[in-house]
Amino acid sequence: MSASTGSATGSTGSATGALAVGDVVAERTVQLTRESLVRYAGASGDFNPIHYRDDVAAAVGLPGVLAHGMLTMGLSVETLVPWLGDTGRIVEYGVRFTRPVVVDPETGAEVTIVAKVGAVEEGVARIDLTVSHGGTTVLGKAQVRIRVS
C-alpha cells in the first residue's frame, strides 16, 4: 500500500475563515509506486503503456515509466479537499503539465504538494498548488479557484 503522509495543516482554521495571501492551507507528500500507476490506469481507463511498461517507455525515448499527468493533477487537488470541506466550492481547476514524474520500479517517486492562498477577490479565492518531485516543479500554473463566503 502506498503511504501518504501529512495532511491539511489548518493554519488558517478552515476554508471559510479569513484567508490571507501567502497562507499555506494544506500540504502533503505522496509516495507513488508502480502499483499506484496500475491502480490509476484501471480507475481512469487510461491504459497508455508508457505508464506501466519500461520497454514501451524506453522505445518512445522516455527516461522511464511516467506517472499519468492526470494522476498528479488529481492527487494534487485532493490535498486541498479535507481543508475545503465541500468539493462543490471548487469553481475551476487548471494545470499545465511541465515536467514528467518518473516512477522507479523499486523506489517509486515522491510528489510533494503545497497549497497556498494566491489571491482573494470578491467571493472567490485562488489557491496556488506547488507540486514538486525530485526538487523540481512538475505542474505549471496549478490553480484552484474556490468560492468563499
Binding site: S36, S44, V60, G88, I90, R96, F97
Partner: protein, 154 residues
C-alpha cells in the same frame, strides 16, 4: 510561415460531433477513483458524509470529469481525417470549470468541440472542450484539454 501544423486537420475547429452515450456514475467507481488519486476525505467514499454536505450520494473527486471527457477525446482521435496520431500526442494542459461536482447516480453526456488549433514550432496545439451535462440537461462541468501533437517524425 507554412500552414503545416503537425498535419493536424484545421477543419476540426467548429466541426459538429454527436454527444457521447450516457455515462452512469457508479458509487463503487467513485470510490475506486478516489482511492487511485489518494483522496482521504470521506465525502468521496461514505454516502452519509456526502449527504451531510447536501449531496445524494458520494461525491466524485474533481478530476473524475476526465473519465467522461475521455470519451470525447476518443471521438477526436477516431476522426479518420484528424491527422492526430495517439503516439504523437502529449497532454499539455488541462482545465475544469464546474457548476457542481459529479455525484454517484449522475447520468452524464459530453459534447465535444474543438476550439482552437495553433502551430508552435513544428507542433500543433489542439484545444478542445467537453461540455458535460446531466440527465436534466443542466451543465455540470466543462473540461478543456490542450493536446500537443508532434510533427510525425518520431
Amino acid at each position: 510561415m507554412s500552414l503545416k501544423s503537425g498535419s493536424v486537420n484545421p477543419e476540426l475547429v467548429g466541426r459538429d460531433f454527436p454527444p457521447t452515450p450516457p455515462y452512469l456514475v457508479g458509487r463503487e467507481k467513485v470510490r475506486e477513483f478516489a482511492r487511485a488519486v489518494f483522496a482521504t476525505d470521506p465525502q468521496h467514499t461514505d454516502p452519509a458524509a456526502a449527504q451531510a454536505l447536501g449531496y445524494a450520494d458520494v461525491v466524485a473527486p474533481p478530476t473524475f470529469a476526465m473519465v467522461v471527457q475521455d470519451l470525447t477525446l476518443q471521438q477526436l482521435l477516431g476522426e479518420p481525417d484528424s491527422g492526430i496520431e495517439l503516439s504523437r500526442v502529449l497532454h499539455a494542459e488541462q482545465r475544469f470549470r464546474y457548476s457542481r461536482p459529479i455525484v454517484a447516480g449522475d447520468e452524464l453526456i459530453a459534447q465535444l468541440s474543438v476550439t482552437g488549433i495553433r502551430t508552435l514550432g513544428g507542433n500543433a496545439m489542439v484545444t478542445s472542450d467537453a461540455e458535460i451535462t446531466d440527465a436534466a440537461g443542466d451543465h455540470v462541468v466543462t473540461a478543456t484539454s490542450v493536446l500537443l501533437v508532434g510533427e510525425g517524425d518520431r
